[in-house]
Symmetry: C2
Subunit: 264 residues, 2 copies
């Protein structure tokens, strides 16, 4: 049985109503090509693309865009040799690259969040899933203990925190990716009576400064910032496991990347 | 001689043509009040406001907004006890609070950048000042050496870097605040033949991932992310020194804050 690139894409988009103006499009490659292998990643870096090709994959599914811009502003990069070399690798290999972002976030529950919860081992603690956040109630731990636990579970070197490391937390809001900004996080603290928000990324002087003021006022609130990739890569790993069960005849590979930042 | 709040504001805005729809407004207080003391900060946290009041200042000048949102989206916070308590402190004290953001960035050169360059001791290395960046050419140093140098000069605990720590850099683009995104930083690398960009803050999968690909392709490029406050507070400190010379009869205090994040 032959499966085309388009057939895989259709299957991935199936659980969700059609999204207009989505960034989830086939960026390169032929939708009618027969899929020989599927590679899945958070961010299709040059290294990830090379690895996918070497593994024999001809369809690469990436959560974030290829050229460093959410809505494919190619004019930002088009004169850069970095862009040209990456584009050449893709074109010459013939690999199909599909961005799978908006659809997986609209799964119910959000597919990226499901993977994060799974990686954290907090599935039994989920109180509710909402479109942009999940609320968990864990056995009471200090912020420091949660930081060490999360680092261990996600295999990451560091997290950034705001708040008292010895303060205990039990009600946690999880927000994957770039959802750590004030407009989503701040109302959530009050609405859900949260002790802690764990998010991927957000502007530094929004939620973090809200927490700073709250703590200074003697309120028990805390924030833990994982990093954008660190918060969403587990969701793409989870997706890889799911795709393997849907297309059992096709080799499926999750390709991780190293952490983007070094702390010096 | 008595100086009113409005007189100070007029003086601060004087070097720049009137900006429509600016966030630089008097957030609290009476413009006709006589100024007894001026406090200046990057971000008017609860602690900074208390300190300003205790120092006898009745005009506080802050670079970023009071309530965790660039364009004063009060609806995000208005039900939060954190907001209510902070607002009460301000109201009861009668302190005037002015946000000075857009105007100082439009100074020629950008006043925030002038303070950053001064703090880094790189004034003699400036090649050119542009509206959103400054290009410096420093004596050749490794990325690791520059990181240590910058940490020492700015008095900060850590920076986050992308790129080879042993790679040498001489042409550097400096972008203060939230200017580290791909649309400003990526074209600047090519246009100015930069080895390194030092920025305040920006989305994690834009410029950082561009650098990762560049380095993987064997190109010498690097990124150093200081943190938003870390990149802009020196500009506000510099402003405090300048204001002291303009209004010699008024006590002027720069109020620093601790770094917002702990790395665990």
């Amino acid at each position: 049985m032959t499966i085309t690139v388009q057939a895989v894409l259709d299957k991935l988009m199936e659980p969700v109503n059609k999204i207009p103006n989505t960034v989830d499009t086939l960026k390169f490659g032929d939708p009618n090509m027969v899929v020989k292998g599927i590679a899945i990643t958070f961010m299709a870096t040059q290294k990830v693309i090379e690895r996918a090709i070497n593994l024999g994959a001809n369809l690469l599914i990436t959560h974030e865009g290829l050229f460093y811009s959410h809505i494919d502003h190619i004019e930002i990069v088009e004169e850069s040799p970095v862009y040209l070399e990456k584009r050449r690798l893709i074109k010459e290999s013939g690999i199909a690259i599909y961005r799978f972002h908006d659809y997986i976030h609209r799964y119910q529950p959000d597919g990226i969040m499901v993977g994060l919860i799974e990686a954290l081992g907090w599935k039994t603690y989920v109180e509710k899933n909402q479109p942009t956040s999940t609320i968990v109630k864990i056995p009471s731990m200090s912020l420091r203990e949660i930081a060490e636990y999360v680092k261990g579970k996600l295999g990451i070197e560091f997290v950034r925190t705001v708040g008292n490391l010895d303060g205990t937390c039990t009600r946690i809001g999880l927000l994957a990716g770039y959802r750590g900004g004030g407009s989503l996080s701040i109302p959530l603290f009050e609405k859900e009576k949260l002790d802690l928000i764990i998010s991927g990324e957000g502007p530094e002087w929004e939620t973090p400064e809200f927490i700073r003021d709250a703590v200074y006022q003697g309120k028990q609130k805390a924030l833990m910032v994982l990093g954008h990739a660190e918060s969403e890569a587990p969701g793409m790993k989870y997706l890889a496991e799911w795709i393997e069960t849907i297309f059992p005849g096709i080799p499926v590979h999750f390709i991780p990347e190293k952490p983007i930042f070094q702390v010096v």
